[in-house]
């Protein structure tokens, strides 16, 4: 108790430093965000420019990570791909967080028929394997950027609904919430001022873990040709294109996959570390 009270007094960055796992994850994610933001500066080449004299050139020289079958620079494509893959993943998780969070809070706070209805809807979404539902939505809705965002967002909504509902249920009966209600605070004020701040910890952890899944799902969709469409580079469609040439040019398959795995690891480390930090009961 005294330890967590002390931890609460220090700032978040300082607490992150004391949780090396979360810090390592945050550093990886920070590097990726920076790289994506400064892709136009960092990229040695135009990601779409084809160099017909250097098809499938090995890493080194003018092409630090080699080129693909059209002679396009792999590093530049990975950097620009980061923009697409990260933007789509963040947007879809924000969608899931907003939708699932709102549904979960309403469920937990009001209970009764609203709770029953919303949670049954979440059960139905949960009844589909995530990747399969995303594939099905993409198949019928077409492959625009916003459909990818909606497809992934819908698939990861129930987790947020369940997490926030459970937290609201745990918070709602606490004395300070009852005190606020007794003082005449309205539902809106209680939810925003008293309940939301206290359920944010599990939602933050869930956001980090969902981001790792969203990146994996976006790349799987693009890998299957149902996500980001060529020639726009995304990590998943780069992997898909590499399949026919990987025996000759293994770098075309190795680097995009390693790029995905590293940033997903970053979000997993951050999520795991934050959970240990924010919820001492689950700590190791």
């Amino acid at each position: 108790m005294t330890r967590s009270a002390a931890a609460r007094r220090t700032s978040t960055p300082a607490r992150l430093l004391r949780a090396p796992v979360a810090a390592a994850g945050a550093v990886i994610i920070g590097v990726y965000l920076l790289a994506a933001a400064s892709a136009p500066v960092l990229s040695p080449h135009d990601p779409l420019a084809m160099a017909s004299r250097s098809l499938l050139a090995p890493p080194g020289g003018p092409f630090p990570l080699g080129t693909d079958q059209f002679g396009r620079d792999l590093l530049s494509r990975l950097l620009y791909g980061a923009r697409v893959s990260l933007a789509v993943s963040f947007a879809s998780v924000v969608l899931a967080l907003a939708g699932g969070g709102a549904a979960g809070i309403a469920s937990g706070y009001y209970g009764g028929p609203i709770d029953g209805l919303l949670m049954r809807v979440m059960d139905v979404i949960f009844a589909f394997p995530a990747v399969l539902l995303a594939i099905a939505i993409m198949a019928v809705a077409g492959t625009a950027v916003w459909t990818v965002i909606v497809a992934i967002g819908v698939v990861y909504t129930p987790q947020f609904a369940r997490v926030s509902r459970a937290s609201v249920l745990a918070t709602r009966g606490l004395e300070y919430v009852e005190a606020a209600a007794a003082l005449g605070a309205g539902a809106r004020r209680i939810l925003l001022r008293h309940i939301l701040p206290n359920i944010s910890a599990p939602l933050i952890v869930q956001t980090s873990l969902s981001l790792s899944l969203a990146i994996l799902t976006e790349s799987a969709l693009s890998f299957l040709g149902l996500g980001t469409q060529p020639p726009t580079p995304s990590w998943g469609n780069m992997l898909a294109e590499s399949r026919r040439f990987m025996a000759m040019a293994p770098w075309t398959a190795v680097f995009p996959g390693a790029t995905i795995a590293t940033v997903v690891l970053g979000f997993n480390l951050l999520g795991d570390g934050l959970r240990d930090l924010l919820d001492p009961r689950l700590g190791s």
């Binding site: 059960d123 979404i125 394997p129 594939i135 890998f223 299957l224 795995a261």
Partner: protein, 317 residues
């Protein structure tokens, strides 16, 4: 137990109802006219003929009636007709089902084979370098896309180990068990490794939680040997909840087969769906999605019942 089973099956009904509505609506999200989609662009018809066909197909009615017709046909095993082959959808899907089921089952076996010993070891060596290394490897395992792992395995192995990993060489298990397993090995490993990481983490924390219990301390205090404490008292209780993880992860397995079948050109349900998507053969897509969702829901019911059977606290609690 009977009451528990009945309750669990009853709770299934609203979910199945919702699933059927969602799958039905999915196909109606497609922009454009369903009949035009069926006929393609090559067939010219008068509006009167189109209207006659709509009446014939029952797609001139309001959506709720179409839904009722569709569900009615589902109960008779009629999942619709492929737009490409004009064959009934369900038999084609069921013919592919064993491939996907075998892939998922093998992946699960591989995952458990890795996760149980490693997770137990990690918990028992808690706080040591070995534990830290195992946990890090576990996190990396969670982060690797399974289709990339599949690609890497194909890249690294076939040169030396030609009999395995021959793409497009699928044979049925009962026709040639060894040949079948050789072809299925790499796909199952690609799919199973991520699952191994998930289960391993779960086994570790479940065992640690049990080891902190008073009855474990009692067992130690009364002088039992450590292996007896672990085997008789701790492991039994720690491994029961692992059953539920398998239930959650059935979704990962079923969804993963779609992607992995595509990489290894295995003739499973997932590949059928992806081919159908590229051909805009929506009844087949709809059928596969429905069948996989049903499998997922049923798997979870079986897992729940199994859990209640093994752990009486669940069914009486």
């Amino acid at each position: 137990m009977t009451a528990f089973i009945a309750g669990r099956l009853l709770a299934l009904l609203p979910v199945l109802w919702g699933v059927s509505i969602l799958v039905f609506l999915l196909i109606h999200l497609i922009p454009g006219d369903a009949l035009q989609l069926f006929l393609g662009t090559q067939v010219a018809m008068t509006p009167a003929q189109m209207e006659e066909l709509r009446r014939l197909f029952g797609i001139n009615k309001a959506l709720p009636w179409q839904y009722a017709d569709w569900v009615g046909r589902l109960f008779h095993g009629d999942f619709g007709v492929s737009l490409r082959t004009s064959r009934p959808v369900l038999p084609d899907i069921l013919a592919r089902l064993p491939v996907s089921a075998e892939l998922a089952a093998l992946a699960l076996v591989i995952a458990l084979g890795i996760a149980l010993p490693v997770g137990i070891l990690s918990a028992l060596r808690r706080g040591t370098a070995a534990d830290a290394a195992i946990r890090l490897v576990g996190l990396v395992g969670l982060s690797v896309p399974n289709f990339w792992l599949a690609t890497l395995l194909l890249l690294l192995l076939p040169g030396r180990l030609l009999p395995i990993a021959s793409i497009g060489m699928y044979v049925r298990f009962f026709a040639n068990p060894i040949g079948n397993l050789a072809v299925m090995l790499l796909p199952a490993v690609s799919l199973g490794v991520v699952l191994a990481a998930v289960i391993m983490r779960y086994v570790r924390s479940a065992l640690l939680e049990v080891l902190a219990n008073e009855y474990v301390r009692t067992a130690r205090a009364k002088g039992l040997r450590e292996h007896r404490v672990i085997n008789r008292h701790a492991l039994r209780n720690a491994l029961i909840p692992v059953i539920t993880v398998v239930g959650f992860q059935a979704g990962y397995l079923l969804g993963g087969t779609v992607v992995i079948e595509e990489v290894f050109a295995l003739p499973g349900m997932g590949r059928l769906a992806l081919t159908a998507i590229s051909q805009r053969d929506y009844p087949v897509v709809q059928g596969v999605v429905l069948v996989i969702a049903l499998l997922f829901v049923l798997t979870n019911v079986v897992v729940d019942l199994l859990y209640a059977y093994v752990d009486p606290r669940v069914r009486f609690g």
